[in-house]
Symmetry: D2
Subunit: 402 residues, 4 copies
């Protein structure tokens, strides 16, 4: 039976790497022998393990190695990465390596090079001596693309040595947690990030407006707590509808009752912006005097409005091409330290897809299954809060500003 040696290093027990590797081998029906095991004696010490993995045949073994490699196992013999040229645009060579969202290095010319812009489900391209993560539709003819698994190292994020709300919360999504204390802790984290000059991104769905929180979010923008805003046509359209007419989907937000002719307001708001040419020009024309989009533009906050097939209108500057929108979102999320995603499944998943595993994310939604889906990213960096954005945001503002 064929065998192969692998090694693991780091806080591999408490971060779950070693258990995962063992489980994978068991699940696949493989076998192993522990050749060397050097456990970190104290909590700051790293551990080291060397295993001999056995499969039924080469294909079987190969399958096992491939999976545990993605979990952080590495081959002790240092090999160079294998590269192959793409023969046409958007077509990586067969057997191209598909990325995880963990930090990744490739071995090239005897040097470990960190892969830039890492995100999951992409290819790795070597360009001008640098390694880049690229979605397959951005592959160009002639690109040197990494194939197979030689010379690649994947390093999953480790559990921090100190406790934090992210660890405890991340572990288990449930609505039955002390909401106010959690919001307090999130507010502190946000302040801490801003004090260190960090960047906070928000992904927002239109429910933020429907539940009556446009002013509070505008306040967050104004006070510098939102560096990047990701959303769709709906959040902007309803925000502008509210700013113009005081309604959201025709419901008067002060009186909680349908405004007459309110059904038109959504379309009329979009139409007024179209008439001005853009949101910015509508502001200059005095049509929009408050709200989230207003504050974003007044405070030069970067925003990306990505189109979807549900859109009415859409507003000018909504990027109707989904691939272009993805591209702009990728640029916008660079350097974000904390991404807070609220009340939108589509935009949150799209954002989650393009973030590396080491970026902290907080997902806030009223649906437990949505939160579970979004936080299940194999990382202790994702925290889920099952709550109502309509009460969550005012309380967050209260903790931030009072």
């Amino acid at each position: 039976m064929p065998i192969r040696e692998i090694e693991l290093e780091g806080h591999i027990i408490d971060s779950g790497v070693l258990p995962k590797v063992f489980n994978t081998i068991l699940d696949k029906g493989g076998d192993f022998e522990v050749l060397e095991f050097d456990i970190g004696k104290r909590k700051k010490d790293k551990s080291y393990a060397r295993l001999r993995v056995e499969g039924d045949d080469e294909t079987h073994l190969d399958k096992i190695i491939s999976q545990i490699h993605r979990q952080g196992a590495r081959l002790p013999e240092i090999e160079e990465v294998d590269l192959k040229e793409a023969k046409s645009d958007q077509t990586p060579p067969r057997n191209f390596y598909t990325t995880t969202n963990h930090k990744t290095w490739i071995r090239y010319n005897d040097i470990w090079k960190k892969v830039k812009k890492i995100e999951m489900d992409c290819a790795i391209v070597l360009e001008d001596g640098e390694a880049y993560c690229k979605p397959i539709n951005e592959i160009k003819k002639g690109n040197k693309v990494v194939v197979g698994e030689n010379g690649i190292r994947v390093v999953p994020p480790e559990r921090p040595r100190e406790k934090s709300v992210f660890e405890f919360m991340g572990s288990h999504v449930s609505p039955e947690k002390p909401s106010e204390t959690i919001i307090q802790q999130l507010a502190e984290k946000m302040k801490e990030i801003k004090e260190k000059g960090g960047k906070i991104g928000f992904v927002l769905g239109p429910a933020v407006i429907h539940t009556g929180c446009a002013e509070e979010v505008a306040e967050l923008v104004k006070n510098g707590f939102i560096d990047v805003l990701l959303g769709g046509n709906a959040i902007a359209a309803h925000d502008i509808e509210r700013a113009m007419y005081g309604t959201s989907l025709g419901i008067n937000l002060e009186k909680v009752e349908p405004e007459t002719k309110g059904h038109r307001n959504h379309l009329y708001a979009i139409s007024e912006v179209m008439r001005s040419g853009s949101i910015k020009e509508a502001i200059e024309d005095g049509k929009i005097k408050e709200g989230i989009m207003y504050e974003c533009i007044q405070n030069d906050v970067e925003y990306v409005l990505a189109g979807s097939i549900r859109d009415d209108g859409p507003l000018p500057k909504v990027i109707t091409d989904t691939q272009k929108a993805q591209h702009k979102m990728r640029k916008a999320v660079r350097g974000v330290d904390l991404m807070i995603m609220m009340a939108t499944t589509l935009h949150s998943i799209a954002t989650g897809n393009i973030l590396p595993s080491y970026v902290k994310t907080v997902c806030v939604d009223i649906s437990q299954s949505t939160v579970t889906e979004l936080t299940d990213r194999g990382s202790a960096q994702a925290m889920g809060i099952v709550t109502d954005v309509g009460t969550f945001i005012p309380m967050l503002n209260d903790k931030l500003f009072n």
Copy 2:
């Protein structure tokens, strides 16, 4: 083909009575002729309709009449109610009339008598010249029980002539509503009821404690906003656990992290109360110094703790017999003007079952399907709010007290 005349009176169009009757006849494959129709000319005027209903045969017609009778149709010929004696305990005579939760009258000795303590799925018993609604397990041998449908009038609640948050909210359960404004309106309703000397009941599940709102609910009790508290062993046990140890299910509510040995606190709290003999005595022994149960007892607020098969312990005074608990709940809800039900399906449904349709109810839960189930009572008096109790309650208190 057999026919029968029925009549309808009141705000039968906008309250949906006439449309429902028409729909029922259509659904059952019957036919009708409108013999007389006197529409209320102005919004305060009542309407009157007299219909001839036709069925395929007597059985078919009978089935149609029976259903529309429950929707408010009455037979113009005035008949006496039919009574029959129960031959043994808990056994109403065959063909006994099963109640709706709407106001009901029976015709006895040429007088329309209002049925007291009306609730759904019960029988009607005539005792000492008065009509009572009784659950079938309270029927005694010899009780005179109403059978058939002669001489019975059912009056569904009408849509109020003026608009109110209950109408708009009741119509459609959705998490995408302006939370803060709704809470503001509920707070005003609560103040209005208390100013008029009305009674407010609360049905509470343990999530109220887990989400960190024990102090806020205690504050509501202290300030007289809770006249009756319905719940189970869990809400009381976790409230007392928090009062004694600062934890809920072992989670420290201030730090949002599991307290060590916290798993024991729940049982230890129950055990300490058992040692004292009762919650009241545990307070006297100085073991419990704050919290919901503490305030209920200090302020003489009526509470019913009903047992369930999930209970640990249970605490002394938890009524482990479910029929006895139902009986006590029935007494407790008499005279309540507004029932607010939060974060418990079991206790909320049980309470909904014993309330007449004219009592206003507000159901607050994070699960939309739970709220839908609970507010679907065929009445404009039920309002559902899909939100997180952990943020809802602090905001409610803020609106009530500030």
Copy 3:
């Protein structure tokens, strides 16, 4: 106080039109007097009502009239429709009429013209003597656009005179309904439509593949039960992944366990199609030999794959521009008699948005709140089934084919 007369005609009581109009007037704080009321004496007879509506002032009255007009009220005096030219592309004139999804007529040159391609939240344009419903971004400079509400008639769908599963089911979304019987009835409805030469559309999300139903859906296509297929990149990519590698998101669907290297299969499948150039060419290259997309292409079934920002790849022919995708979906749904929407919120809502209210829709999803949202279209034509597509589809096939 200003007054205005309106009239209503049809099965206005049981279809809920009259109660809705009364409720709207009450909600808005208006008043009314019934001037004439001619109730349909028998169940096939139509009713007629003439009302005088009163508002506080012209603006108030105008608001009331505007809303009840959309519910089917019409002004007895016959007026011509008002038209105004659009001054630039994508910019309808101010005060343009926004459509409902109900059948609509406009009065032009003394003739009632039916508005073609009706869907909600659009404008009405008169072109070559015909009235068309157009989304605002398709308005061209110089288009004659309907403004105000004069000369417009809206006719909401009426409750059918005979009972049907759509009526009963549509009334109340709940998972607690007899699944097998409902599936039986849906199968019969589908057969009936096909026998009459009707068209059935399906909107499908990728969960159809993940839950193991690709073969069953392919069978539906093969047997002519799917005339139009709407979906996104994911359904096609996972269908092809399964056809090529037997996995869905890397999970082996026969053994319910993660296939090794399975994580790659999704991207490899997309990449193989890219290499061939299109799904069709990939079939010709012998890469795809079964599945939903295979059967659609082999059987010339129309499909629209609309892009979203969540997409990997995407596959060739996925329409990445959301406005172009909407446009293609609009064309594809013309003439569909029954639209079955499964396991996708995004595509189902987008499809619901472009369908007239008289097209029957069935929404199948495991989330009750998704089903509620999708069926809440103010029409008895929408039926919701809360179930698991993974068991629903095999049972549907069983009822259709056995």
Copy 4:
């Protein structure tokens, strides 16, 4: 700083015991040193670890030790268990040991005694030289109760060395799994258990009847696949309603439409059983001729019907005292190898509470959050299936019988 040694043995890496212990120490802010670590070289070999754990002070250390002790850590020095007498009924001594649901031994007279009838959140009592797990309300005055943590060993279930559907499924609750294959695997597991003479229990909610599966479940009883049935008044009442009248909550299950006078059927069914005296006598009287309860009684299948405050009636033999019901459920679940829980939160949680962690459980529900809550028992033995019981059960029967 105080220290204490602990040891761990078994498949402590892949079963997650060692990572959990490390995480707990980190979470609590403690420190550790690994004194000895003997990793199992091959997959069948057990590992052994000896750690020195450090806390800030005795209380802190004590808290850490207490928690990791429950996770399987044991103290190497062998101590006798500490016992203390209960001074009154229902009142265990202060500091009594509260159980986990894992296999547990106590050291008494130099012998390790296995604790019988282990379940979570109870006390341990020594009686006639045997150790029993007892709920606190069954403690009698004079009982010798285990206090503290000396001389106690907890052994969490280990991950089986071979792969199984329970492991894969248990890991992650999601509706997006291949339903039919999972049902196939469950059917095989059920057959395997029955072939080995094992026992299968079912916990059923009334939705089983509402969704139209009464006959299928009756079939399961008849064919010996249900050895124990746990439920409430509702499942029995609706089953009997269906057997007598063909309806469930008044809905005709064949035609999916409300039966006229159907609203009565539920109460009439209960009433008829009361008239006969019991379900058994109602069968003898010829009133009930089919259904789940019928088959249970005809085939001598044990059932427990536990009362709740939602009950109408209730039926004779429903145990209205929740503590008595719990007691009977405890007896009924002894020896069950597989517990299948469907469509009831209350009864499923109550059953989960009294089961040891090594009993396999399958939870089937349409609500993902219910399934997550029920399967989150810290054990690889709990598998969750998010599906519709109305389609699941017919498919299960199909796999079992065809």
